[in-house]
């Protein structure tokens, strides 16, 4: 049993690490949504394995000694060969799916190839569960502990090995497992398989380049420029950093059209093939190129001395701040620690030694952690990272959680301002406007929370031809300050957008927006009463004279405007931190009616991919779970209870895991660390729970009781424990790590008992259900991730937590019937 346990643990570690590696590889080559789609289907290989075992359990269990090492060897070989095989057969391009029918074939082929290692590993693991069901508590412990360690292992490996070698390195784990379990008496087939797998792995390690990035990724466009080349490449769990140099790469984001000099040519940094920042270096005082963009606004209004640049990336805003009247201190906050280390430790010369300036301090922390730590003091100006992308995101980031753009984040910034301090945020303009309206609504709520009666006296904004910068202060802006802003805007060919004394005729002097109702919508967002009039006498700002953009704009502020119901412009919150999710699905028919084939810019790719993922997972789950049921009959024995019980354990576990990762992403500052912490802690404690479950008799009453405790713990974690996270957010890492463990462990321990107890109860009367139960648990666990995101988009993560608790109530209800005949 020891050899089998070690092999099982190694394989479990390899599988979870391989999953994370594939997601990273596909994120580099395509986009993380597609990585997610592919991996969710590939993980259904686990479900298929359970079904296969259900069908051929007798043959496989009889030959366990010979089959197990073969499966492990094949798992290793398939892991090592996956990348090379997909490239040889032809890689799919996510965006071409919309144009070339052949891409559907490539996508299906990619699914299939990636599913193979999961199927083989899943079959090996389920086989052990089935054959060693009498020792399931220990076996499940090893499986979970191995998975937890695998998550930690891959984080370390990603720091030291290029991404392309990782599948080959991970393949060594199941191969080692296979060596340990080859039967000494009859080693022939197993040893041969190991040898072949070893050769495949070595070949993969020798030559297994990463798939080329999609031609539609930003880095591909940069590399198409004459003379373009990659001058640096490094990998870390945060992503793959690449630096591209080309003579045609100029840094001029939203530059004033009055600017007639040549913008500087600069190297550009990409993370996973997407734009990360420009190595713009330092500038002499008063000569920074951002002075010719809307980002000059805070410096036109006041003279901040203590500045914090949040999401500093490569330091463009830091250099801008330094070029303005010798600030006392500039804090550069960048959560991508690997990128920050490149610029502070390894290559400070890339950025003209910007971060070595004595006035600059660097902080490799998330924005929220930085804000929560009061020891950093107060600031005259917080510069938020630019919101959106040039011209909009088309919903690509609809599912990305933006904790620095929530009401809670801005409220914390507000409280960390010195008297007269400001918060600046630049928005890349979209048509129809969405991020700018949501930002205004968010700031209104922040100001009202802080007791400000007239929010519009505390907010300024100017607008260029493709960007607008907003400025919020804890002190009303004076006439002198607004006049200075007016003059700066006019000199640059920008228009005032929000000023306490704004005139309608000055809002579109240089740049006319596409939406004739844009100004009215913005005034409503800042003035409140969405769909209604603004509060207070200042509502004159949005009167009927705001016209100037056509007859449609004659609508009164209280009237409903065309398109009012299309987008969700409520402020983002920590519970629903999707700043870039705007589309109301119910509005799609109306959008189609109004825009026909031009509806596409309004749709959100991320949302539809989540929907597609949910549908494909549902389809696969139905095939894998219900097909065997159809063959044997719904009412035979206690099948319905087996289905409900293991559907509950699978879905409940995954849903709670997603909620935990979300809460701890904010708490630990990094999604990657949160994922590792949750996977590691939850799986280790669940493993401990599995071991502990060996002490309990698997009676219906006992199991139902434990399931009820789990449901209660999940609900408690959302209601009672969340304030603890908020209170300790700024504490040192060891304290937060301890809180994380205390937060996760109790539920993990109890959740870990339910699967082995269920299997043991099943083994008493329906041992043939065991492989099917494994399939259900795996399928539901994987299938639940996409619906979880859809639920979170509409109801927030608290609702997802509620559904997770509900799943465990289902487990409690199904437990008594599980072994009934």
């Amino acid at each position: 049993m020891t050899g089998i346990s070690i092999a099982l643990g190694l394989t479990s570690a390899a599988v979870i690490a391989f999953q994370l590696v594939i997601m990273q590889i596909l994120s580099v080559a395509q986009w993380h949504h597609f990585a997610w789609m592919v991996i969710s289907v590939a993980m259904l290989g686990f479900g298929a394995a359970g079904t296969a075992l259900f069908l051929w359990r007798r043959v496989l269990s009889r030959s366990f000694d010979r089959v197990f090492p073969l499966l492990l060897a094949a798992t290793g070989a398939s892991m090592a060969a996956t990348t090379a095989v997909t490239q040889r057969l032809g890689t799919f391009d996510a965006f071409l799916l919309f144009f070339e029918p052949a891409q559907v074939g490539f996508l299906l082929m990619t699914y299939t190839v990636y599913a193979v290692p999961f199927f083989l590993a899943g079959l090996a693991i389920s086989l052990v569960f089935y054959v060693k069901v009498e020792g399931i508590s220990r076996v499940y412990f090893v499986n979970l502990a191995g998975s937890g360690l695998g998550a930690a292992l891959i984080l370390g490996l990603m720091h030291i090995s290029p991404l392309e070698y990782l599948p080959g390195i991970l393949a060594l784990l199941p191969l080692l497992g296979a060596v340990l379990v080859v039967p000494r008496a009859r080693p022939f087939p197993g040893a041969l398989a190991i040898a072949v797998a070893g050769i495949v792995t070595l070949l993969a390690l020798r030559a297994s380049p990463l798939p080329a990035p999609s031609q539609y990724k930003e880095i591909s466009a940069a590399l198409d420029l004459p003379g373009a080349r990659v001058t640096h490449r490094s990998t870390s769990p945060y992503g793959q950093i690449e630096v591209v140099r080309a003579e045609a790469l100029r840094y001029a984001p939203g530059l004033s059209l009055q600017y007639r000099r040549e913008p500087p040519v600069r190297d550009v940094v990409f993370n996973n093939g997407s734009y990360f920042g420009t190595l713009a270096g330092t500038s002499p005082p008063g000569e920074h190129i951002l002075d010719h963009t809307t980002r000059v606004l805070p410096y036109a209004a006041r003279q901040p001395r203590r500045i914090a640049v949040l999401g500093a990336a490569t330091g463009e805003d830091v250099a801008h701040a330094l070029s303005r009247a010798a600030p006392e201190h500039v804090a550069a906050v960048e959560p991508h620690r690997s990128a920050l280390r490149l610029l502070t430790d390894r290559h400070p010369e890339w950025n003209g030694h910007l971060y070595e300036n004595p006035a600059v301090s660097t902080h490799g922390r998330s924005v929220r952690q930085f804000l929560a730590d009061r020891s950093y003091g107060e600031y005259d100006l917080f510069v938020a990272p630019p919101i959106g992308e040039f011209g909009g995101t088309s919903g690509v980031h609809a599912l990305a959680e933006q904790y620095h753009l929530t009401v809670e984040a801005f409220s914390t910034m507000y409280r960390r301002l010195t008297p007269g301090g400001m918060i600046a945020a630049t928005v890349w303009l979209e048509d129809p406007a969405r991020p700018s309206l949501k930002l205004a609504a968010t700031w209104r709520e922040v100001l009202l929370r802080e007791g400000v009666e007239k929010p519009d006296h505390h907010v300024l904004a100017i607008r260029g031809w493709n960007s607008a910068t907003f400025l919020m202060s804890n002190r009303p802006f004076s006439d002198r300050e607004t006049q200075s802003v007016r003059e700066t805007a006019a000199a640059l060919g920008f228009d005032p957008l929000l000023l306490p004394d704004i005139r309608e005729d000055e809002r579109a002097r240089f740049n006319r927006p596409g939406d004739p109702h844009f100004f009215q919508r913005l005034d409503r967002a800042l003035g409140g009463a969405p769909g209604g009039a603004r509060a207070g006498p200042e509502s004159a700002r949005a009167g009927p004279e705001s016209a100037g953009t056509g007859p449609e704009s004659a609508a009164l502020p209280g009237d409903s405007l065309p398109g009012d119901s299309w987008f969700d412009l409520r402020p983002a919150r920590d519970n629903r931190p999707f700043f870039f999710h705007f589309l109301r699905p119910a509005a799609i028919p109306e959008l189609r009616e109004s825009f026909g084939t031009r509806t596409l810019p309004y749709l959100e790719l991320g949302y539809f991919l989540a929907l597609a993922s949910a549908l494909q997972a549902l389809l696969a789950a139905v095939l894998l779970i219900l097909a065997p049921l159809a063959a044997t009959g719904w009412n035979r024995g206690s099948r319905r209870w087996t289905l409900l019980y293991f559907a509950g354990t699978g879905a409940g576990y995954m849903l709670f895991e997603i909620v935990l990762i979300q809460r701890l992403s904010l708490y630990l500052g990094q999604p990657v660390y949160a994922a590792a912490a949750v996977l590691g802690t939850l799986m280790l404690t669940s493993g401990a729970g599995s071991l502990l479950s060996g002490r309990f008799r698997p009676t219906g009453k006992t199991i139902a009781g434990i399931a009820l405790v789990v449901a209660a713990l999940i609900l408690a974690s959302g209601i009672l424990l969340r304030p603890i996270l908020v209170r300790t957010l700024g504490y040192p890492l060891p304290v937060r790590a301890l809180v994380t463990i205390l937060y996760t462990a109790p539920a993990g321990l109890c959740m870990g008992m339910l699967f082995p107890l269920g299997l043991r109860r099943l083994a008493k009367t329906h041992d043939s259900h065991i492989p099917w139960a494994c399939a259900i648990d795996s399928c539901l666990a994987v299938s639940a991730s996409a619906p979880a995101v859809l639920i979170a988009l509409s109801g927030g993560f608290a609702v997802v937590g509620g559904v997770a608790a509900g799943a465990y109530l289902l487990v409690a209800a199904a437990a008594p019937g599980l072994a009934s005949s």
């Binding site: 965006f95 539609y216 059209l257 600017y259 048509d431």
Partner: protein, 240 residues
């Protein structure tokens, strides 16, 4: 119903021989079919969306769009959408090409510069209307392909250059209109300088990979005015 191979093999063999001799060229029968598709395209995709500029409509009905798409996409050349042409670029939706042409309002004797030749289709549409059309492409394979497309479609008077469009084409400046077909996050100062007094520039503003806003830029003395026209199409596929 599917076409059958004729009972008499000769016409079929003749057609086959023609295909072998002239790879990549369409048969006359196809040409008439393409012409019908083009007519439908103008009527249903362009006129219906309020593009009324007579010269633009005339040009759109003349330029053989199927000669500016990849071989494998010819049957969809006149469909109501963009098509990929490689290097992360597309040939734009016909309506967007027509709209951009109408917005710059090309008149007799005008001189127009296009930044981003791509397939050459937009330059060909402009070339139907004007004698002086200049186009610049920075990606070399696209420059070669776009130039060849323009030549084979008979638009020899369109001047094509492989260069960085940032600098425009100073020798031929000023231009009455500049059509920037590659999506941009900035508007190069030299292009503003090369715009004639009262000249217009049309440019899709935004990342080449996301939704963009078609923006009209006008120059009046030292002042530059912009106007957002409409969001264009879909994520990365708006290389016009």
């Amino acid at each position: 119903m599917r076409n059958r191979i004729p009972a008499c093999p000769f016409p079929f063999l003749s057609a086959l021989a023609l295909l072998l001799v002239l790879p990549g060229t369409a048969l006359p029968a196809d040409e008439s079919q393409f012409a019908r598709q083009r007519e439908t395209m103008v009527r249903t995709q362009i006129e219906r969306r309020n593009v009324t500029h007579p010269a633009t409509l005339d040009a759109m009905s003349r330029v053989p769009r199927h000669l500016f798409v990849r071989e494998e996409n010819r049957d969809r050349a006149y469909s109501d959408g963009p098509l990929p042409i490689g290097h992360g670029q597309t040939i734009s939706q016909p309506y967007i090409v027509a709209l951009m042409t109408q917005l710059v309002d090309p008149g007799p004797g005008d001189r127009v510069l296009e930044i981003g030749t791509g397939s050459g289709y937009q330059a060909a549409v402009l070339g139907e209307i004007l004698r002086e059309v200049y186009t610049i492409e920075i990606v070399e394979p696209l420059y070669r392909w776009g130039s060849a497309n323009l030549r084979s479609a008979g638009y020899d008077h369109v001047r094509v250059k492989h260069a960085d469009g940032y600098y425009g084409w100073e020798e031929h400046a000023p231009f009455d209109a500049i059509v920037v077909t590659a999506a941009a996050s900035s508007i190069p100062p030299p292009l503003i300088d090369q715009l004639a007094e009262g000249g217009k520039m049309i440019i899709p503003v935004g990342s080449p990979f996301r939704t963009q806003v078609l923006t009209l830029v006008r120059r009046e003395g030292n002042d530059i005015f912009t106007e957002q026209i409409l969001p264009v199409r879909f994520v990365p596929f708006v290389r016009q």
